[in-house]
Symmetry: C2
Subunit: 403 residues, 2 copies
């Protein structure tokens, strides 16, 4: 018995039947004596439909108004879920982002949660009500509606769990948990029963779509125990927490990220502060830069390459071209036909042979590596997109991660 | 130059083309130097679609959750309208009911506006922004979303006009203004250039669908000048205000109301306070009673008949039957195949022949009158529904209201 936050995504509430499925999962937890807060995304294609409606009118609509529009999506799904729970005879109340005290910063469309003022949620829990909260949305200091961007509903759930001191934050998805690799690419991939925050973070930022890294970062910061599990099957999922109780595996998982494009600034003058200059210009436009490679300078020049998310590519190129009088690159080229493949595992720090084994697997599969980036517990390579699935399979096999 | 509140209904913003039509009407007013507040309803069938979604899940959903659901409709339409205005290059901001300070009482689904806290609207107007406000919705003292029920958006518009001291509150509709009779029934009906609040109130409660009487009551209370006009044609409409400057017409208009059913309590014991007892029982269930007829008692018994709105009929009958041990009627019968036909005009008080002329028109048309009710400036009759159109035509002709 305790307080459990449960988050259900858009596909879990896509139609009336699924809404009732979610309602019964929630009620199981409630009837076992727990307090339950449910965070819900917009139904199935609602968000896409609303974006379509907006584009029909103005394809450069302000982010403020887009947030007003999109936040209606969760308002619909949360009230429908509340009605299903009412139908099943349990006390329930649904709350929008502002009602639930989801205070964010002022950045429309990609706001960050600053604070969850949990009084209203707690008030309703104290009445033994199931509390449904709209995911993905909040309110800024001007009393304007904001949305949290990608992975927003997961982040909402973790933020609420942290604010209320929940015992567990369950993220229901259409997969059973976190796997050693995407089971659609590697059918023999193993589901993990536990994973650490750091490993999950690396896997998430390496393109494993199961959890967004913002939510994992927040969970790590406030030490919120998360569980990734299936909306449809009643089986235990993967627990994400500080320390694994199971023996450390060398490699925890392999991820592929197609949402990546490479930009290269060719023959930039090799002066101090050049990289800082470039990346601060991009940061001002809120372009996140990932893998960075800087060639060793020769003849007073160097090449700087880096990756960005595909939907930031246009902004990044425009920004760089507009500022090239300052940057001074001879040419600015890009390639959006690349993928990033990463291996993650807390055990790899102790074993210098991991990188070599990974590169050997790629060599055996005749795959060329364009860029390499590493962290304590992750190694990522940038390769041709056409080779990405082959790479995942080859690495998975090489490290013997199969079930 | 002044402050103008403009309200557009759901059919006026039903699709992208119409949204742009509304945007250009708004901008015309704005570019002429006026401050503009726009109140907008949900698009076309949105509300019905949302009700359908709810029914699929729970046909007895709580009113609180229905209000959460339905209020998403205006949130969608208001942001789309804002995007259209952005596209046309004017500064704009959209506000939900709670953002706009539309404070209501606690009655979900039929809340009444208690106060409009206009600070936020004024703040945006001071920045010379066009301000769009979601109609039909507000917020109660528990910070819960409420909706205003029928005619809600008109009421929102008038309440804002009153709170901000607007110079004019324009209600855009799919007709050109207020007519002497429904032009679909009487093609020769005349459009009125002006009408008083009282006349409009009587016409509205008599079934003229052009304005809801709640909005007119509010306009009268705060002396807000209203104009009813067409969304689609740029022609002046009907001004609703305190006093007419034109000569008083004997009859201002004729209205028909099909949303009416008759209930008769047969052989009720003729005791003091009986009518009070019956109608207070119904009032507790929020059933509004309209035309009331009480027969002269005989043998210590009397019959009491009255009309209710058709969607209150079931509740009314259930309530009366459940309480009949107290009421003591021999039988409770009803007829939902009736219509109310009314004539309205401030001039009629001075002319005792008006009622006689109306009854003569009905007699000539061979129409039987079931019940009669009168006010200072209105005479209503309850007749068979099949005779209603014939009655409107006959009366319109008799009073020579044709163009």
């Amino acid at each position: 018995m305790g307080l459990i936050v449960q988050k259900f995504g858009g596909s879990s509430v896509a139609n009336a039947e699924r809404v009732f499925n979610v309602a019964s999962r929630v009620i199981d937890t409630y009837d076992a004596g727990n307090d339950v807060v449910v965070v819900v995304s917009a139904q199935g294609d609602t968000t896409d439909d609303l974006i379509e409606k907006a584009k029909e009118i103005n394809d450069r609509a302000s982010k403020r108004e887009m947030d007003v529009l999109l936040s209606a999506g969760e308002q619909i799904s949360m009230s429908l879920l509340a009605m299903a729970i009412e139908k099943l005879g349990r006390p329930v109340v649904s709350l929008t982002g502002w009602q639930a005290g989801m205070n964010t910063d002022i950045n429309y469309s990609r706001a960050r949660i600053k604070r969850v003022v949990g009084e209203r949620i707690q008030l309703e829990l104290d009445k033994r009500k199931i509390v449904i909260v709209a995911g993905f949305q909040g309110i800024n200091k001007y009393d304007d509606i904001t949305t949290l961007g990608r992975g927003g509903s997961d982040t909402s759930a973790v933020a609420i769990a942290a604010a209320l001191g929940a015992d567990l934050c369950q993220i229901y998805t259409d997969v059973r948990g976190v796997y050693t690799a995407d089971p659609r690419i590697v059918p023999e991939a193993t589901m993990l029963s536990e994973i650490t925050y750091d490993e999950m973070l690396e896997l998430a930022s390496a393109g494993a779509n199961v959890l967004h890294n913002r939510s994992v970062e927040l969970a790590k910061k406030f030490n919120v125990n998360m569980e990734v599990l299936s909306s449809f099957e009643k089986v235990p999922g993967t627990i994400v927490k500080e320390e694994n109780t199971v023996e450390k595996m060398l490699i925890r998982g392999i991820a592929r990220d197609n949402d990546v494009a490479r930009i290269s600034l060719v023959n930039v003058k090799d002066a101090p502060g050049k990289a800082f200059q470039i990346f601060s210009i991009l940061a001002k436009k809120k372009v996140n830069v990932d893998v960075i490679l800087q060639s060793i300078g020769r003849d007073g020049n160097k090449d700087i390459s880096f990756t960005v998310a595909t939907n930031d590519l246009e902004v990044a190129l425009n920004t760089l071209n507009a500022n090239n009088s300052i940057i001074g690159a001879e040419t600015i080229v890009h390639d959006d036909n690349v993928s990033k493949v990463s291996i993650v595992g807390a055990g790899m720090t102790a074993d210098p042979g991991v990188a070599a084994t990974m590169f050997e697997a790629l060599y055996d599969a005749d795959i060329n590596i364009q860029m390499i980036s590493t962290s304590e517990i992750r190694i990522s390579v940038l390769i041709d997109r056409k080779d990405a699935e082959k790479a995942v399979k080859a690495i998975h096999k090489k490290f013997e991660l199969h079930d």
